[in-house]
Symmetry: D3
Subunit: 292 residues, 6 copies
């Protein structure tokens, strides 16, 4: 029988009503300062996802047992940042209101601000777990307060001091690193502080945002601002799965810019991180609640 | 409201019941002799189609008024040619049985054979209008009778002498050109014989197959076997629209291999040809039947 | 002697005081709807310009005799469109105030609005000569009034009916083509209406804006929205030179997106058009005033 | 003196009569499920091999002392899998019959089946050492039993239980991993089980097949199905050399797809692995038999 | 039977003794001023030649009837220009001494000087037919007298005034164009002066050198210095064939730089020109001497 | 105010008089044996440098406090090696004469010879610290004594035995490795011998030359001759900074070939190494002399 052409991330084919996690794409890159192109990430990832298997031998879990709904991509207005953020906030709020977990695929890192605005309304005690190469703590960038270089600074205005954990950071202004000492928990260069972060965030509502450029450019060249000295794929996978063992109320993967990696490998890296995160988030429901 | 992610060619969003034309992709390239990659054409074209407008200033017609259904891509078995052809034949037959016109996006040129097998069953008097750089008339290729280099030869076995019109041809074996003199109406190098072909095909049931490499590689480098000396975009657009004024009972566009044109322009060329063909095919229904 | 590293377009090395033409880059692409990347055009063009000669055998004129100053690129705020346009307007106004002719290198087509805002203040009777594949006449795009798809509509709000000549147009909404019939002089598909446009614009102060995608993608694939059916390089060169024989008070070249043409040829095309335009604009001063 | 143009892998210029190892290419990729292109591997490797040195500082051995004959590439029929496998089997059998060691360059992984069919006829006790990212143990793929996703399953039908060692595996269906527990010695994720495998395979006739995608995509992006979490170059080189210390009766390197790594580095990786393997296989003859 | 791996241009497989034409590659690009890479042309062309057919429907001739020997590529010393030129001169002289016609594949245009040095020794009355975008008449380039920008000037020193015909030229210094008026027959912009050139060169010993960048970059982007305003493929093919009807004693195709055209189309263009030239040169021997 | 377009490496904007370090580019690659393209390194690095921050969180130092002057690129003669080397020697000598430290950006490795010729004249006791994948110790290459494959051999002729430390080497002729045992301090495969080298070089005038291909191609694919088995980015950064703690009298970074890494990541790697080296070299002046 002829059917209309539905496209979803591999293994994310649950009915909306059954789903515990809802994916959406936020294809926006208007404030990108160096090299744009992250707008294509969600579309390319969806298309390439069928090159991956649904089964994870690492966790011995299979996406076929998960309940994930793919609600497609938002149609965001390029050049009008505030409008785009509002659309993202609305979509996130809608998912949260339905009692489901929003999983956003960027776009540039600024899209995270829209999701956090919605999350903090529902969870006033929201904490943030942030993996990145860059501080993203600028007060402004060339006069703009809404920029992918200032997204965590804007998020901090919503959460206040001490609620943001920043790991893997290896690039920023001197001022940003100094400012972070007062206001966030910044652990530079790698993800070795994860045990510390996990302990501090235990039981808190956590928004988990991963700027994929936390990986070394040797692993992940497909991004706008490659910054060497990053973590390996294995280190990120392990930490991302660990983070998903927290009380995650929303999460995202941002800053994949597929055109900068002609081999397609960066997209494959993003997809595998995404699969492992989804499986970890779904694990309690697949295996039954963890026994104490 | 959250909805599942439906993806169609731009402007091809009719309900199946209402549609007069049904599109499908045939992502197959296993017999490609030189450089594979046409399997990605339909997917990439669908994704890029939103870079085009629905309106044609050439014909003053708009896809918004057309009734086209996009049934997505077949999942074809690579490495098992006969099975793949059967799946294509079935899909084509199903569309024909529903009284609709099948519009196939290849894949390599061999996919045309599957569609023609279905069409000739419904229309025993089937004629073929064929634009191409290559004769495609080999008896076999490295021992294989099913090859993109022999597709028109196989089609001739179904239609017999004199029913195939081949235009734009500029590459082949000496034997093929000689064989064509006896069995097909081959008009080499360009599309200037279109008036002759149109006259001959008037009123006949026509399967219209366009190997996009009929265009010059300066226009259309995104193909497996670039062959210089081809036609311009404007020449192809004009002839393709003219061909769609015939009694077309099925058609296809084949041999776009998007990875060979990093600029994306070749994909844009294919899409614009496709839009103009769809509009011409739909013209009688948009404007009302032609008055006599 | 060690000197600081000055980089200019080839042959554009006049002192500011001596220059009649001032070049500047406007690297902005935040509102680009399809594929961004025009922000890199001015930088890449400057770097590649030494692959061209200063001498034109077409006009028998040499850039060594021209008086052009290259003032480098603006640093524009991505994601804040209005601020970016103000910066462009200021730079243009400064050049006009100095009695010189501004020659802007985009960036996306919206940058033209900044320049026209400045030009129309100095020349209230400003007319516009516009080469493009696209109408650019949308009232808005996804809610944004400032978009590269609406730049000529915004320009029309400054000039009023009948003062804009649009040539080469072959893509747009049905509504835009209809709107154009009332408000602009749109001549679709090619540049054959140049004699008519030249006659109408004779003696008027003219802002001349060339969206390089007016060229066919076979000639110029390096652009965000390739649209087949365009003009050849020779046709554009001839018309661009002819346009520069008018009373041009400002001009620009926009929408080169170098990363989409890995061969570098599109950049070379833009540079050669630029050289021929500069030489034609400078011709009266090189040869002395035209004798009557 | 003018000579005909002979092309061989660097340092593989022995006369056939003198050679102990015979190289051949098997350019076939018709069953590749995701991204084709491995057909170009042998040709590109041969061309790029002169960027490498003949001398290995790791083993202090030089290809100039080795006796390797390059018999060029087979001309395989795309789209007719069984015919292609027969041609590969014949070439392998011919080399084995001449008392030489066949060293095959793929192509996709299915080509290994042809070689193993020949090897198992000569060595009924054949064992297999298999490095790969993927299990390759499917019973069938989209209905085809001959697929690069099922090649080890087909090989198992020839060798029976317990004779296949699979290392580095990190992707597959849940069913494949479970099946492997009963039938093969699968050691997932890395090559750390090499001592165990070497011990088990000591003295056995071994066919050694390396799917180069066992390397991490950060090292080796030039492959059809990049799968993160793989081994480093150094780990593969060490294990490949160790494997060549066994009683190897045939071997291959498969799944390089050069077009997916525009930098050429993946090809260089394949070539260096190949050189080190050839030198280790030749070591007894270069240095004289190992003294006990 | 296992055979060593011989690689030749498609259809150029005659024995040396039988051949009338001898091909060789001259992979040298050390003096290239802008973008190097032509050193790869002959190797890539040879590899891609099997994507072409041996039969020409334009001339109704087949390479299978031609007698052409491919002697492979010279191994030239990069960075030592004079040594490289000597090696080229020697190879050319050897071919000429054997009574055969040398057909050289560059490399940059300077390689032509080596061939001409040999040709002028055998044919003191040597004339030159030169297709190019560039004058190549500089007295020197950055101090070097041996440069691809001065190759025709150096050739003129060997032939003297009036013996060089230059067609298609559209780029150079003002001085070069002026110098050409005194010393060569330069016909700028296109190939329309071919009848005039053919008449003048009738009966003379002619060295025919084609810088492939005479084609427009829309046709042939794969070159180091793209210069718009060039000829179409059809125009070049026609003129190249016409030129081969002269008394050609040596010829070459230079300046293909394959890496700048990722689509491979530029290489295909060069190969098709080459095939048509070879067939025209061989025509008298295929069809028997022309009857008078 | 309109200003001329000055372009420098990020943060290298000191006045010449104030600068302690002077950067210059040496865009030369005529002797490159395999794949040319390093001529573009300095230009591309300068352009991309604004994607990096001026601040180093590793050293807690900021380029804003450094005194570095960028004197732009030399204009070197391609194809005339000795002339190019003379120009490099002159520029280096001029910087040394001004009491400043020359920091050269290649170009191929041969450019180092020009700089060392100048340095050894001022510092007769010059020692060399050399990181590389390749020995670069050939007596000649295809007859040329001046080649990037022989640059350290030529340097040795100036310094004599025992003064050259070579780390990271993993490719060369057998003869080169043997020759090195007598004449240089070659420590193969990695940078673990740095403590030994640092001890030996303490207090000596050191020229520090880094061939960036010492990094593994997984980290740094953008080079002409990728050689696997190299060091990580972190290993190079640490060793490069340590080396800059010596009495460095000149240094360079060579063999980046940006076109071979379409992602731009290799360029980013080179830039970050450069920033860390500059900061270490400037550290004594930023923090004041080290206290004892």
């Amino acid at each position: 029988m002829l059917k209309t052409n539905v496209e979803t991330f591999l293994g994310c084919e649950a009915e909306l009503a059954d789903a515990r996690i809802v994916i959406f794409g936020a294809p926006f890159d208007s404030t990108t300062s160096f090299r744009p192109g992250t707008r294509f990430a969600s579309k390319v990832m969806r298309g390439e996802s069928y090159g991956l298997e649904t089964y994870s031998p690492y966790q011995d879990l299979d996406m076929e047992d998960a309940a994930v709904f793919d609600s497609g991509d938002l149609e965001l207005c390029f050049g009008d940042t505030e409008t785009a953020l509002k659309d993202i906030e609305e979509r996130t709020a809608e998912i949260l209101a339905a009692g489901k977990l929003p999983f956003m695929i960027g776009g540039e890192h600024l899209v995270t601000l829209g999701a956090i605005r919605a999350a903090v309304k529902k969870y006033p005690d929201l904490h943030i777990l942030h993996f990145d190469a860059h501080t993203d703590l600028r007060e402004e960038y060339l006069g703009a307060k809404l920029s992918h270089a200032s997204v965590l600074r804007r998020a901090w205005e919503l959460t206040g001091d001490g609620r943001i954990w920043q790991l893997g950071i290896r690039s920023g202004l001197r001022e940003e690193f100094r400012w972070a000492k007062e206001h966030t928990n910044l652990r530079p260069f790698n993800l070795k502080a994860m045990p510390e972060a996990l302990a501090a965030l235990q039981g808190k509502p956590v928004y988990f945002t991963i700027d994929l450029d936390v990986m070394d450019p040797s692993v992940f060249p497909g991004t706008g601002t490659p910054e060497y000295g990053g973590v390996t794929f294995g280190e990120l996978m392990e930490a991302a799965v660990a983070g998903c063992g927290l009380n995650v109320v929303g999460c995202d993967l941002v800053e994949l810019s597929p055109a900068y990696d002609q081999s397609g490998a960066s997209t494959a890296a993003a997809l595998k991180i995404m699969r492992e995160m989804l499986l970890k988030l779904e694990e309690p429901f697949i295996k039954g609640p963890v026994q104490v």
